[in-house]
Amino acid sequence: MTELPAGTGPLFTDPDPDAARAFFRAKSRALKDKVMPVREAVARFVHDGDYLASGGFGSNRIATAALHEILRQRRRELGFAGHTATHDFQILAAGNLDGGRLLARVDVAYIVGLEARGLSPQARRVMESGDVQVCEWTNFALACRLQAAAAGIPFLPARNMLGTDTFARSGAKEIRCPFTGKKLVALPALYPDVAVIHVHEADCFGNCRIYGISVADRELARASKRVIVTTERLVSNDEIRRTPHATAIPAFCVDAVCVVPHGSYPGNMPGAYFSDERHLREWLNAERDESELRRFLARIIYGVSDFDEYLEVCGGAARLEELRDLELNPGQPRTA
């Protein structure tokens, strides 16, 4: 039998479903109050060396407060699922400044760029240094890897990546379909150690609602061993039970619920506030020069004690009101 091609990229996580089942068997299903400050959630559930995943879509519905706290608590040697990672990746890449190694291993589907806003100079420096281990995937590939993990199976077959260097530098393997004989790519299950996900509403147990696109967060919450949820609003359990079809993430996936109004700032939160393009431009500009970036981070992350202080530094209630107006009236210039 001829050997089928396989990617040469490293697998940063174990796709074994029985190892995952052993973990999930011991995970609490109890409906207990999980509300806690972001500082406590990160201290308890994000450890040095963990493999981290970030929900939302780069600059949309992201758990900014949790990401900032990971920097403030100086986590090191993290693996990361670079799944449509834009501003979230930019925040984490700042943790590699000055010889720090927040990011050590990255599964890449989309990193370094901020879509139409351009490339992040700091993320480029980190990824061009050769110091961070990488493995290539695609957006669909990482979504499938999370789906496989959520389903408790070791891989999912798909028909992307075939014939390309993306496959050659991935950790995927080619297989033959037992029914049709067709070539398929086997995408190994991805079980992150910890995920940070921002949602519109959650109850104190961690039952979550997302208004708008879910991106890959339904799968991510189920695939991850530990889940920190940040939420715009806390709602009652009665409210969740009134419309159970609206629950996107069930409580038994969730370990911590942190109430963080405007928690996706400077990202967009559908129906609530638009992204702060002025602030994102400031980030990109500050990154051009490392000493300027150091000053910038001292002002917005390391020099503030929590997310509310960060919001104040960025313009506070007046700015947030402008972003709310921009979100609800999309015909205006977005840099207003």
């Binding site: 449509t84 990193i111 370094v112 061009e128 050769g130 957006n139 499938c144 075939l162 015909g331």
Partner: protein, 255 residues
Amino acid sequence: MAEYSPTELMICAAARLLEDGATVGVGTGAPCAAAMLAQRTHAPRLFIAFEAGGLAPQLPSMPISVGDSRTFWKALMATGMADVLEACQRGMMDYTFLGGGQIDPYGNLNSTVIGPYEKPTVRFPGSGGANDFASFCWRTMVMTRQDARRFVEKLDFCTTPGYLDGPGAREAAGLPAGSGPYKVITDLAVLGYDPATCRMQVESVHPGVTFAQVQANTGFELKCAPQVTTTAPPSAQELSILREQVDPYRYVIGR
């Protein structure tokens, strides 16, 4: 005749390739502008899909991210990434528009690295959804500026499949049969592919542009399609819709 920029012509030429009722997966920037223009002119029932989960929005303004709230404004559905890309994989996406740092004669794209992979000169974002769209959609279109550094005989890294290395290569690799590159729309010309060789060829040159100019801005040998025409310039109606409705703040056309 109305004055127009090369970017405006690219967007108009791309928009005309989308027929009413078709499905198209797009990203931000010029491809999104083309889809919005098509929706506001000849293709009001164009079904626009964004990989982050927005299905068939009535785009109120130019999105800045393929996952921002504009991408599901008055949409038919706000779903997830797997759902959208699975629809592509099962054959329901007619078109996609992509960009990229480099493109080769077979329409393969590089958006991963320039230089050696282990220690790249430039690290680009990677595939994102580009490899997925180009693997699954029936017809892949590329919108890009044309110069000899972008249009190269050999890519530094093949992120996204075009015709790979020629006729039959996609099917041999296991990619879905009958899918693949369709057009390349640049600031100089509209290019297609020679069915016999799967190599890029010029189908129309933009007004005032010669074939020699297109060749001079391409790092590999170009052929001509059996009939090379001149790209129709933007109409006054297309230009006014593009400038007043699609991109009034010139995010794309001002570049």
